[in-house]
């Protein structure tokens, strides 16, 4: 038992050190294009592992990421854009005075992004988790739309459909990669505690969980709020990576992409969520040619934007029909190192 814990601990420390080294190496040696992809992957790892916590680990089908990522992105953008840059970019309506005074450093901006998303998740939890039933998907879907509509219709804060520009490019591999490590460690620590056990129990059999004295409302709310926190932080990182954001960025498509990632990786597995992110983000870059005009056996096709998404949708359907478990099932990397010895007879 003790030996096994130590082995797991060493594997984890090794993985973290390896990742830190990779971040350092990539930052110094890879070209700008590759670094940009790695930044995207790191942010999506944060989003995928946190989305997996409510959807996979706790088994509550939810469609929340785009809403909370949007919240985080806007909060960070408003806190980071200099008053100078704000003063000339509001083209639709004059900004409210408080918008001009919002200002903070990057750390505080990310923290506030996460906290506001978490607070909204807490507010949503009460009506949704107090009653039994699958309302979460519908409520979170609606929430995403509402956030988008609010962003479009309040140009005094968000600059409407034009979005916010000139966000300082604070995100780099150290921030995105570093926070990805933090997110993975925090979520794994939650999963491997009584809170994570309660979440899995809710997923497996909610009535039995209640019969064991588990407060299932609390378990679901903790999972949802933790997801929201990291989605807010991820949104902030994304804003400071892209340097401009607009409401279109955060439509349902964004959530759909994350859904494909966690289903592909294996619902419920944090390792799977990371693998899924690399496969989908990497695959997405690799399949870029699909969206462009192609020369098929001398026949010129026109550009088909969205073709990649069709491929991903087909992959999702295929997994749902033929490979429910995804790549990892519910297993974690450390499970693969466990000795396959069977219990005594």
């Amino acid at each position: 038992m003790q030996a096994m814990i130590n082995k797991h601990f060493l594997i984890k420390v090794g993985m973290i050190l390896g990742t830190v080294w990779f971040i350092w190496f990539a930052n110094g040696h890879f070209d700008e294009y590759t670094v940009r992809i790695l930044n995207n992957i790191a942010i999506f790892v944060i989003l995928a592992v946190s989305y997996n916590l409510i959807n996979g680990v706790t088994g509550q089908f939810s469609l929340e990421p785009n809403g909370f990522v949007a919240i985080g992105a806007y909060v960070t953008a408003l806190l980071l854009i200099s008053p100078d840059a704000k003063s000339y970019q509001y083209a639709i309506a004059d900004p409210y005075p408080f918008v001009m005074t919002l200002q903070s450093n990057f750390v505080v901006a990310l923290l506030l992004s996460g906290l506001l998303a978490m607070l909204l998740a807490l507010v949503l939890s009460f009506p949704v988790f107090r009653v039994r039933g699958d309302y979460l998907a519908i409520v979170t879907l609606g929430f995403g739309f509402i956030i988008k509509i609010l962003a479009i219709n309040h140009p005094e804060v968000t600059n409407g459909s034009l979005g916010l520009n000139d966000i300082p490019e604070f995100s780099n591999l150290y921030w995105t990669g570093g926070l990805a490590i933090v997110a993975v460690v925090v979520i794994l620590n939650i999963v491997n505690s009584k809170f994570g056990r309660a979440m899995k129990a809710v997923r497996d059999d909610e009535d039995a969980a209640i019969a064991m004295g588990v407060n299932t409302f609390k378990a679901k709310t903790l999972a949802f709020c933790t997801s929201a926190f990291f989605e807010g932080v991820g949104g902030g990182l994304l804003a400071a990576l892209l340097t401009s954001i607009s409401p279109d960025l955060f439509d349902f498509f964004f959530t759909f992409q994350l859904l494909i990632i966690i289903v592909l990786g294996g619902l419920g597995s944090t390792t799977g969520a990371i693998i899924g992110t690399v496969l989908v983000m990497g695959g997405s870059e690799w399949m870029r040619f699909l969206d462009e005009p192609m020369n098929l056996f001398g026949y010129e096709t026109t550009a088909m934007p969205g073709m990649r998404m069709v491929v991903f949708s087909l992959v999702l359907i295929f997994i749902m029909l033929f490979a429910r478990e995804g790549v990892m099932g519910k297993r974690e990397l450390t499970d693969l190192f466990k000795s396959r010895k069977k219990g005594g007879k």
């Binding site: 019969a211 064991m212 219990g343």
Partner: protein, 255 residues
């Protein structure tokens, strides 16, 4: 009396699953709840555990009225249960299943688990040791790291009892614990329950169809038929009682 059921009635739409039923269970007693299919036994369990609110009447546990309490609060008062159809957490290991029983007894907070405070580590160690002891008691510690669903039927039944005991109950409700077991397994389980009553300081309320098992195990039985009490007394007298025999014969005819 540790548990008092007073004039409990439960209606589902037009159907009364339980009609004006009263009984009391004494501390450390093994009390059998028997009766043909559909008699209302499981419904009675669900009322005691707070899954159903009785249409009228009350449930009193250690002089406290439980009516209106949420199921997860009632467990914390010291009433644990198993299910008629085994309901283990299918994706989790046997050990994790038992650990869930400690959920409300563990003293560390959310942030402590994230930062892995010393208290987190000591508490986890404490409940893991305790869970292994309980599993060991049921001869199941060798299977601790197996998935619960990979075990045999009889083994799963034992894990379910171990999980219920992890909540540290005073009153244990067992819904057909011997269902699906062969005669020797059934007898072994009976002895185990009797032993556990002493070692875990338990009062046991058990639903069972197997009259031999009931005879071996129970100090007292209550026979329900269509939600009504038709017999209360010693198990040996129950099988002699004409009304009980008639109720069971009716049941056999229906099958």
């Amino acid at each position: 009396m540790i548990l008092k059921i007073e004039n409990v009635t439960k209606n589902f739409g037009g159907v009364s699953a339980i009609k004006e039923t009263s009984f009391s269970v004494a501390p450390k007693e093994i009390f059998g709840l028997i009766g043909p299919n559909g008699a209302g036994k499981t419904t009675m369990f669900n009322i005691i555990t707070g899954n159903y609110e009785p249409s009228s009447g009350s449930v009193i546990f250690r002089n406290e009225v439980l009516n209106g309490l949420k199921p997860h609060h009632i467990v914390r008062k010291g009433i644990a249960r198993t299910f008629q159809n085994i309901r283990l957490f299918s994706s989790m290991s046997v050990l994790d299943n038992v650990l869930i029983g400690f959920d409300f007894q563990v003293r560390y907070g959310f942030l402590e688990s994230i930062i892995r405070f010393p208290r987190f580590l000591s508490e986890e160690k404490r409940i893991k040791t305790r869970s292994m002891e309980i599993l060991d008691y049921f001869g199941m510690s060798a299977f601790a790291h197996e998935k619960a669903v990979d075990l045999s039927y009889g083994q799963q039944r034992k894990v379910e009892i171990a999980r219920a005991l992890a909540t540290n109950p005073e009153l244990l409700l067992l819904d057909e614990p011997a269902a699906g077991m062969n005669p020797s397994e059934t007898e072994e389980l009976g002895e185990l329950i009797k032993k556990a009553r002493v070692d875990f300081d338990l009062t046991v309320l058990v639903i069972e169809h197997d009259m031999k098992f009931v005879n071996q195990l129970c100090d007292k039985v209550l026979v329900l038929d269509y939600g009504k009490t038709i017999f209360e007394g010693k198990p040996a007298d129950a099988i002699q009682d004409p009304e009980v025999i008639a109720a069971y014969l009716g049941d056999f005819h229906n099958d």
